[in-house]
């Protein structure tokens, strides 16, 4: 556990050394804190003042007000909560289902691989957004439904990444070594291969978080996301789009926050990839020149 924390700290430090990634971390941290502690801020995302509808940004309403006179910045902050919860839940679902599928498929191969990968193919072949919409049609519109739908579309990426990782690692000598001194398949999968696959999985977690936020927003934009009046960035863009002439800031400002969030996750994901690749955490790419292997 301590080693794990050490590694985390090390990666964080490396991350903060890159200006882009550091800015992204700070931005996400700010958004997350705001989302968590929104209840303590003087912001009410539901309070309507229809008389004050569609006010441009001003001293009281920094981002202006929406068609019901609600404070847009309050809705953006609470919308962050929706987005982040959906993203976290979706990523958790995707990882919890996808990683074991990838592990089993990659490790055992054969019919298990064939069956599991066919299943993954199906998920992959249908565009994620259509699939998610069909799921929401089944589950009804709710935060939970959005979370599950987005999560399910994320399963293939985890399964495939894990499987690729397993396939690469399974041929490696340290896995054979465990087998040579009598370790079982389960031991090998969960104690040897999985701990060595953390970096790509971690990167995927970050990458998928941005994908999940985007997908959640897209679903809301299409009108099947979290039901109103719960604030959600996609929903704000959807409604804001109707007021492009009267109140362009209504769509633009939440869009900026959404874009920055996605960009931040993306920047961190890329930085993390580079950091972890540099560090050869899995020992990959460490081959001396002139070795006979």
């Amino acid at each position: 556990m301590k080693k794990w924390l050490q590694a985390l700290r090390r990666n964080l430090v490396a991350l903060m050394r890159r200006p882009g990634a550091a800015l992204s971390v700070i931005f996400l941290l700010a958004i997350t804190l705001a989302a968590i502690f929104a209840d303590f801020l003087p912001l009410d995302p539901l309070r309507q003042r229809v008389a004050n509808a569609l006010m441009p940004p001003n001293g009281t309403n920094w981002f202006g007000t929406d068609e019901l006179g609600r404070d847009i910045i309050a809705r953006v902050v609470y919308g962050a909560r929706t987005s982040l919860i959906t993203a976290a839940g979706a990523v958790a679902i995707a990882a919890a289902v996808g990683v074991p599928i990838g592990l089993v498929a990659g490790f055992f191969g054969g019919w298990r691989d064939a069956v599991l990968m066919r299943f993954i193919d199906v998920l992959l072949a249908l565009p994620g957004i259509l699939f998610a919409m069909a799921m929401i049609a089944v589950l009804g519109r709710s935060q939970l439904a959005a979370l599950i739908a987005v999560g399910v579309t994320g399963i293939p990426s985890f399964a495939r990444i894990t499987r690729a990782q397993v396939l690469a690692l399974r041929k490696r000598d340290f896995v054979t070594a465990v087998e040579s001194f009598g370790g079982s398949s389960g031991y090998n999968m969960f104690r040897t291969i999985l701990p060595n696959s953390w970096s790509p999985i971690l990167v995927q977690v970050v990458v998928l978080s941005s994908v999940a936020i985007l997908l959640e927003a897209a679903l809301a934009f299409l009108g099947v996301g979290v039901p109103p009046p719960t604030p959600s960035w996609g929903e704000m863009l959807r409604t804001g789009k109707n007021y492009l002439y009267e109140a362009p800031y209504y769509a633009i400002l939440p869009g900026i926050v959404l874009t920055l969030t996605i960009l931040s996750f993306d920047t961190i994901g890329r930085a993390l990839t580079e950091i972890l690749e540099d560090r050869h955490d899995t020992g990959a790419g460490l081959k001396p020149e002139g070795s006979k292997a």
Partner: protein, 315 residues
């Protein structure tokens, strides 16, 4: 070669079956049916019963599925519940629009993505690389629907150059009108995909640049243009073909959001409409067509790949 194609098809057939059965089952689990939509809110119970019977929706679900399946195997995807038109006709009317958008978006993506990738791969970590990488991050990070809104705001609301809404005009009927109406959605999708392509191509170019054969090529005294143009590009473009193919496959059903922003009459929106109307045969039809196209493009890419890459034999 034929064997290879057959084997791929044999592998993918189960995908189709599982998917269609899965979706069918899923939709029937859902409350709400097509009849209400058909009759409007003032319908009486008798009317509802009559229409349900006429549409055969009172039969057991599995019977309905197998009926559909038998039809599908003979190339008949049934009639839309909502419009009573043959599903294949409905899809056939949308397909050209979808393909036109897919092609236009792919062209935009390639035109924007490839130069960006090449320039930033040739000068890694330089300021120009940083700018271009930032650009591709932006292209990827800006949600298409927001980008679409911004483009509408700029080109339609402010400048009034292009229509904010796109209808489908076949290119060979009226090229100018076709380009005008496909411009904004293609730009929206294309910019997004150019981000993916640029990033992917840059990564594979950078890794190819490190490859031993590049050093060999330089050691022969080849001009840099030839080293990049012939040696590196050939290798880097191989995996790139796969990505471009996947992207195109994804445009077929996956451009829903862009289609929604621009009111573009593509397959994706047809299917969304079908889902919200519970138009079961149409939903199934869309899924099957999207999957078949996906599979066909993948297959084409694989065959093409095997054809271009001398190392692969169809085995």
């Amino acid at each position: 070669m034929i064997g290879y194609v057959l084997r791929r098809i044999a592998q993918l057939l189960p995908v189709l079956l599982i998917a269609s059965l899965g979706i069918w089952g899923m939709l029937y689990a859902v409350p709400g049916g097509p009849v209400g939509m058909l009759l409007g809110e003032n319908a009486t119970a008798e009317q509802i019963a009559a229409v349900t019977r006429d549409l055969g929706l009172d039969r057991p679900v599995l019977v309905q599925y197998f009926d559909w399946l038998v039809g599908a195997l003979t190339g008949d995807l049934g009639n839309s519940v909502y419009s009573q038109e043959p599903v294949l006709k409905l899809i056939g009317e949308r397909l050209p629009a979808t393909l036109q958008l897919a092609v236009a978006a792919t062209i935009v993506a390639l035109v924007l993505g490839i130069p960006v990738a090449i320039i930033s791969a040739l000068y890694p970590n330089s300021w120009i690389d940083r700018i271009l990488s930032g650009w591709s991050a932006l292209a990827l990070g800006v949600p298409t629907f927001w980008l679409g809104i911004l483009l509408i705001l700029l080109f339609a609301v402010q400048l009034r150059w292009l229509p904010s809404a796109s209808t489908y005009v076949a290119f060979w009927d009226n090229p100018v009108q076709a380009l005008r109406s496909v411009a904004l959605p293609a730009l929206t999708l294309g910019i997004y995909v150019s981000g993916i392509l640029a990033r992917f191509l840059r990564a594979s170019l950078v890794s190819e640049l490190r490859a031993d054969y590049v050093r060999t090529a330089r050691s022969k005294g080849l001009p840099e243009r030839q080293v990049v143009g012939t040696h590196i590009m050939r290798n880097a473009l191989l995996p790139f073909i796969t990505i471009v193919g996947l992207m195109m496959a994804n445009f077929i059903g996956g451009a829903v959001v862009t289609e929604a922003v621009f009111n573009y009459p593509g397959i994706g929106r047809l299917m969304i409409g079908a889902i919200s109307n519970r138009d079961y045969p149409l939903i199934q039809g869309c899924i099957v067509v999207i999957l078949v196209i996906y599979i066909a493009i993948n297959l084409a890419v694989d065959v093409l790949y095997a054809y271009i890459d001398p190392r692969i034999e169809y085995s």
